[in-house]
Subunit: 164 residues, 2 copies
């Protein structure tokens, strides 16, 4: 059965590693839903969080292939409900002086932040799970969304256990 899988991959921070990892997915016909790369505390090691659609068997196969790449240090397929998943959204919405109060109210309800205001726009920042990001986007849509920038999902295991 096809479903979303969240994979956490620790890699050596070498030129080309990202291209090789992404290439492995695309050669297998996987379209990556989202991908986020960030440094770990060790600047020589990065972590790639990948969300893909696929059945368990295929994701398992891709994970084995990933393990064979020289720059890959560790892979963990995260299990639903055992991790916290968050995404960051920056969203620019049309806002006349008259509409500002209503938008600020929505921003407060969602515990989002306003990061920029111009005469005709408000730019909002929200870090949340994907359902909440969908919800706030839906509520701001009627004002006229001009632009959205999303990070892709990052995930961390609940409790004491770590991938690092």
């Amino acid at each position: 059965m096809e479903q979303k899988h969240t994979i956490s991959v620790l890699v050596e921070n070498h030129a080309g590693v990202l291209s090789r990892v992404a290439g492995l997915f695309s050669r297998r016909g996987f379209n990556i839903d989202s991908l986020a790369v960030g440094e770990t505390r060790n600047p020589e090691i990065s972590r790639i969080t990948i969300v893909v659609n696929g059945d368990d068997y295929t994701v398992d196969q891709v994970s084995k292939q990933l393990n064979k790449l020289v720059d890959v240090i560790k892979i963990k397929i995260l299990v639903d409900n055992e991790f916290v998943g968050r995404e960051l959204l920056l969203l620019k919405v049309k806002a006349s002086a008259k509409q500002r109060a209503e938008i600020i109210q929505l921003v407060d309800i969602f515990r989002a932040n306003i990061v920029d205001v111009s005469k005709d726009t408000i730019t909002v920042e929200i870090s949340a799970d994907q359902d909440k990001i969908k919800a706030i986007t839906g509520l701001l849509e009627p004002f006229g969304i001009l632009e959205t920038v999303r990070t892709g999902l990052v995930a961390i295991q609940r409790g004491v256990e770590c991938v690092e």
Copy 2:
């Protein structure tokens, strides 16, 4: 002069596009500092935000090469101070019952959120610019950081102007 450049790239959401974009940077010997891919409101278009080190001339050349890739729709090199840059960090830190209050205090000061608590750990979420992320990481370090997951930078232009 080498410096950080933030590049916003709109691409067709096809399998392999990420690998081709990342490959172009690595073939030029650029090591990508951070990369974030997320959907736009149009599910067929994704936006890749890339931070790289390089001189102006080389970044300009890479940008021209990117423009030649079939799946690339639009590229914008963002200008410092004209955009809001944010990154999302999930951080798991050791926390005995005794230390919790002190950690919660730091989390409040930084307007971060607690997303998970276990007997011996607290997991924190913060969306901020990179200096603030460095600051909170530094302050939590003495407690014993177990794991960090970062998204890479996303950026949106200030004011009315858009890349989309």
